[in-house]
């Protein structure tokens, strides 16, 4: 079943055209990776999918819904972790989870989620006092607190220590195994290779390559996704 269907998506900021023509499909229950250089338009694309930005052109359906005209319904069924966001400095971890859970019709058990993500020891800590990695964990947990069918994770493990990264990978796989669809933006090739079922490389506002990690590696005639990424993007840049 197709969960996300994007056709010819276009988006400009003022005169600067960021998304030229993005076309892709994400199937239910897969972990879909989006790779690409800084400024390629990954965040813009994901924010269009989660209803935060209005596309200028093309068609976009998430869970069969239009993120602009059917936002309210869509927001109940998706979860988002933004690349740049914050909470009020004085809010405590447990308060934030409880608050966000209260926005949804059928939320997850926020206490269980807090436990699962190792946040229980920090439940009384104020957001402003958390280190970057702990903030990141909280943001991931907040993306899941609505019990979403689709999760958008923009720069999932940026700022996490190696152990937290491994833990996060495990939890994301568990989620997929429960049927949740995951869209993941990342700059870490090992993460994409370890986690993603399929990957799209976005460059200059277009999907320039798409496939499983294995397919991309053979397409680039290399041994690792890391090398393949460079081989493939260099060819498109030149």
């Amino acid at each position: 079943m197709t969960v996300i269907e994007i056709n010819g998506l276009q988006k400009s900021y003022k005169t600067h055209r960021v998304l030229e023509d993005v076309t892709l499909k994400v199937e239910k229950g897969e972990i879909f990776g989006i790779l690409g250089p800084n400024g390629a338009g990954k965040t813009t694309a994901v924010e269009c999918m989660s209803g935060l930005r209005k596309p200028d052109g093309g068609t976009l359906r998430v869970l069969g819904l239009d993120p602009q005209t059917q936002r309210a319904e869509l927001l109940q069924r998706i979860g988002t972790q933004l690349q740049e966001a914050a909470l009020p400095d004085a809010i405590k971890v447990a308060e934030a989870l409880r608050l966000y859970a209260s926005f949804y019709d059928e939320p997850a058990d926020w206490r269980a989620l807090m436990d699962e993500w190792g946040l229980t020891e920090k439940r009384r800590a104020r957001f402003g006092s958390l280190s970057g990695g702990w903030k990141q964990r909280l943001f991931i947990a907040l993306a899941l607190v609505g019990n979403p069918e689709v999760v958008f994770l923009d720069e999932l493990t940026t700022g996490l220590d190696p152990a937290a990264r491994r833990m996060t990978w495990g939890l994301i796989r568990d989620m997929r195994d429960r049927g949740v669809t995951v869209v993941l933006v990342t700059h870490f090739m090992d993460e994409a290779e370890a986690l993603c079922d399929r990957i799209a490389i976005i460059d200059r506002g277009q999907v320039v390559h798409e496939g499983t990690p294995g397919e991309l590696i053979s397409k680039g005639h290399t041994n690792s996704l890391d090398d393949a990424y460079f081989a493939l993007t260099e060819r498109t840049v030149s």
Binding site: S50, G51, L52, A72, L75, Q76, T80, L82, E84, A85, A86, L87, P88, A90, I91, E95, R98, L99, Y100, S102, F103, Y104, D105, L142, G146
Partner: protein, 240 residues
């Protein structure tokens, strides 16, 4: 409106945890009360001065919470992308507005209660005479000034600008509208200027209720009108 009670409770906690907001809304009016009462005495009408000072300072507290603290909170949330994160949830802008308003007005209720308690124990405060009338006037004042605060919060570009604009609107207004010194002691020119500010009807109506006079329906209608116009404008101008 799911989760509205929860957001209000958390926003109120956050406001009380913020030392600036707590000082502004709670301690500052109490200090002014003490300054006003150092000489004691009665107004020209024979009214004990405390029966004028507590109701007018309760409007002062509403003004501080709605025109200074609330816009700064909103603008800071926008600047730091707290609102952007909320936008990715089912929480609506109306709910965010409602919660901000309610939490800041609860802050003003706490501030008013502090004033009343000090008044009763230190200065033999008697009023309010007409409790429902006073409460109605207070709530309408909170709605009208709160809506103006939301509008400022929606329009200003940054948290810093919000504080500057808020204070620039608040301070002249409390002086001329009679929220700082009793209206009847103000020079005529100042009072007629003050009558054009949105704080004047709140001061008049709250004091009328306090003393047991009927507030004029025009005053109440003006506050309702300000609320409708300013809150519609704020919702229209709202940015995440």
């Amino acid at each position: 409106m799911k989760g509205l009670g929860n957001v209000i409770a958390i926003e109120l906690k956050l406001a009380l945890r913020d030392p600036m907001a707590a000082f502004f809304a709670l301690a500052f009016p109490a200090v002014i009360l003490w300054m006003k009462m150092r000489n004691g005495g009665t107004l020209p009408s024979g009214l004990p001065i405390i029966e004028a000072v507590v109701p007018m300072l309760s409007v002062f507290v509403i003004g501080l919470a709605s025109l200074v603290v609330l816009p700064a909170t909103m603008a800071q949330y926008r600047e730091r992308r707290v609102l952007k994160r909320l936008r990715a949830t089912p929480a609506s802008s109306t709910m965010i507005f409602g919660a901000q308003w309610a939490a800041h007005m609860l802050l003003a209720v706490v501030g008013t209660a502090v004033l009343a308690v000090i008044g009763v124990f230190a200065y033999n405060l008697q009023g309010p005479v007409d409790v429902p009338g006073m409460v109605l006037a207070w709530v309408l004042g909170a709605l009208s000034l709160g809506a103006i605060g939301l509008l400022i919060g929606a329009l200003v570009p940054s948290g810093r600008a919000a504080t500057v604009v808020g204070l620039a609107v608040f301070f002249p207004m409390v002086f001329v509208s009679g929220a700082m010194s009793a209206r009847e002691t103000l020079p005529e020119s100042m009072r007629s200027l003050g009558d054009w500010t949105p704080m004047a009807p709140a001061v008049q109506a709250v004091r009328a209720g306090w003393e047991g006079h009927a507030a004029s329906p025009v005053t109440l209608a003006v506050m309702a009108g300000i609320f409708i116009v300013a809150s519609a404008a704020a919702l229209k101008a709202y940015r995440w």
